[in-house]
Amino acid sequence: MNPGIIGSFKDCSRICGQSFFLWFPALALCGIMIGMKYHKDILEVIFYARGGQGAKSAAEILAQSALKEGKFVQSFPSFGPERSGAPTKTYLRISNREIRTHEPVVDPDIAVVLDETLLESEPVTQGLDKNEAIIVNTEMTAQEVKNILRFDGKVYPTAANRISMDIVGQPRPNTVILGKLVQVTEMVKLESVLEEFRNIFEAKVGKEITDKNIAAIEKAYDLI
């Protein structure tokens, strides 16, 4: 991801995030700001994971958070055979204007890899240039990941499994890694994600586990 787009997207969410409708002129400006770099005003993400890791849920949490901030969203899995453990791709688009396309994401701004064993088997850097970024759930260093991928863009290693084990007591990297993704892109506000997580999960898993998960997302968000 180009620093420009991160900057613009940050500015954008600051200016327009909460008051989408009140700040329409500012919104139009954001569109132009993002558009200048990429000729589009849409942020596109691909999640690489294994079936059962919850990439689809993670993308949907972001989609619901962005919706609440007044944005347009689209999230869909790459429709391969769905079985536990098989490599999966999930696409996410967040935009300031209506999303009409139904093509898979071909030119992502950022990729998220939930399982490091996919680094060598899946084309996880496809469509990413040296100004774009990849977030990987791993204990490796950025340089080690770069060596495997032969990728000269930005690499953000995030030990999402460990953070999740330490805080939640279960390996749930999918939601933890959202903290890092939000930190890097500021595609939505962290509070929106946490609120959405609570909305979706508190009734299912109880307050204690929800609080722990939220703490884990915050921890990933605070990683340098």
């Binding site: 909460q18 949907e60 989609a63 619901q64 429709f79 009409r100 139904h102 898979p104 929106s192």
Partner: protein
């Protein structure tokens, strides 16, 4: 501080959007049998019933043949009846589809359109619904979850007005499983729009006994079928009228088909379903480079709005028809319809080209549509 947003703004899959629309309609009876990628519709609906948010009588049956058979029985008994299916399920229903339409039963059936085996494939294309295009059902295509929601509500009214069964068609996976923005209506507004359903004649009305689907031989059968065709033709204006009423409560206007950038277009693409969204983006790019290209998105396929479509296509020098289904041994369905309509009008001097895309869930990219318009695709397949 929590953002005060309109609570009716949602991000839902097409399947969930249809389930929400059904919840707001509140049908009396819903016989169901699961099949990918339709399952999210009935699964979500079953949850509404379990949670007490809907009081529909759900009937779990042992096959799609039974699901549509139970729907026929319920509808003939005077109940507002819906079911949903896809692919092999629709194929298994085939026999009963004709019985539903022949009995003039206003059953609403969302279909998540999907390929037909063999080989086995669970992904989206229009083979299943095209196989049912002559079954006497109204067929209404939706592009995205918003349209899926809207057309489910419109479809219920249309079925009851036309006394014909209605399929609301979404693309399997592309729409059924894609989370997108939509705006729902207020529950009360939907209830008011669809109104209370009272069947004109029903099996349970013992004071006025009737029979459905009885024997009709050489002396009457033909007339029944002519009546059915008339009812289908009338459904066109009924759809227009109902869509207009819907626009008044929703602000979203639907017509027989959608025209996108067609006014001064030399080239017009014709297609239905989720690919139309991708195509609109492609058209914007082509327009920015001075290409005079537009899109006609088919919404109502049965009845087919021949006259109106011809008018909309009259300015085009080239028409590119994109089908997501084959008619193996002949030309694909949309293409055949357009060519036949053109022949009726004696319109000449216009090139009509046929392309087949997206079979078995094959992705369609914006770049392919741009190449197609620029004459760079050889052959008839976007594969």
């Amino acid at each position: 501080m929590a953002i005060k947003n309109n609570d009716n703004r949602k991000a839902l899959t097409g399947g969930a959007a249809i389930a929400e629309a059904l919840r707001q309609i509140g049908p009396d009876v819903m016989p169901v049998y699961p099949i990918t990628p339709q399952t999210p519709i009935i699964e979500t609906y079953a949850k509404f019933v379990a949670d007490g948010e809907a009081d529909t009588e759900m009937i779990e049956v042992e096959s799609e043949h039974s699901a549509i058979s139970a729907a026929v029985g319920a509808s003939a008994a005077g109940a507002r009846t819906v079911t949903a299916t896809s692919s092999q399920g629709l194929a298994l229903m085939h026999e009963i589809l004709y019985i539903a339409s022949g009995m003039r039963l206003p059953i609403l059936m969302p279909v998540a359109a999907r390929a037909l085996a063999s080989p086995i494939n669970i992904h989206g294309d229009h083979s299943d619904v095209m196989g049912a295009r002559d079954a006497g059902w109204i067929q209404l295509f939706a592009e995205n979850p918003q349209e899926a929601y809207d057309k489910t509500i419109i479809g219920m009214r249309l079925a009851e007005a036309a006394k014909l069964p209605v399929m609301v068609i979404i693309d399997g996976f592309n729409t059924s499983h894609s989370v997108e923005n939509l705006e729902m209506l207020d529950g009360k507004a939907v209830k008011k729009f669809v109104g209370e359903y009272k069947a004109e004649k029903s099996l349970l009305d013992v004071a006025n006994p009737v029979t459905f689907g009885s024997f009709a031989l050489q002396d009457t059968f033909f007339e029944f079928k002519i009546e059915q065709e008339k009812a289908m033709a009338e459904a066109l204006d009924q759809y227009r009228k109902i869509a207009k009423e819907y626009a008044a409560i929703s602000g979203r206007e639907y017509s027989l088909f959608e025209k996108y950038a067609t006014k001064d277009a030399d080239k017009i693409l014709v297609m239905a379903g989720s690919a139309a969204g991708t195509t609109k983006d492609a058209i914007d790019e082509l327009r920015a480079k001075g290409k005079k290209v537009g899109l006609i998105e088919i919404e109502l396929f049965r009845p087919f709005p021949r006259k109106e479509l011809l008018k909309a296509l009259s300015g085009a020098k080239e028409i590119i028809v994109m089908d997501r289904a084959q008619s193996i041994g002949s030309n694909p369905p949309f293409y055949t319809e357009i060519v036949s309509a053109m022949h009726d009008s004696k319109k000449t001097g216009c090139d009509i080209r046929s392309f087949i895309y997206g079979i078995g869930g094959r992705d369609l990219f914006k770049s392919q549509i741009i190449d197609l318009v620029n004459g760079k695709i050889k052959g008839k397949y976007l594969n």
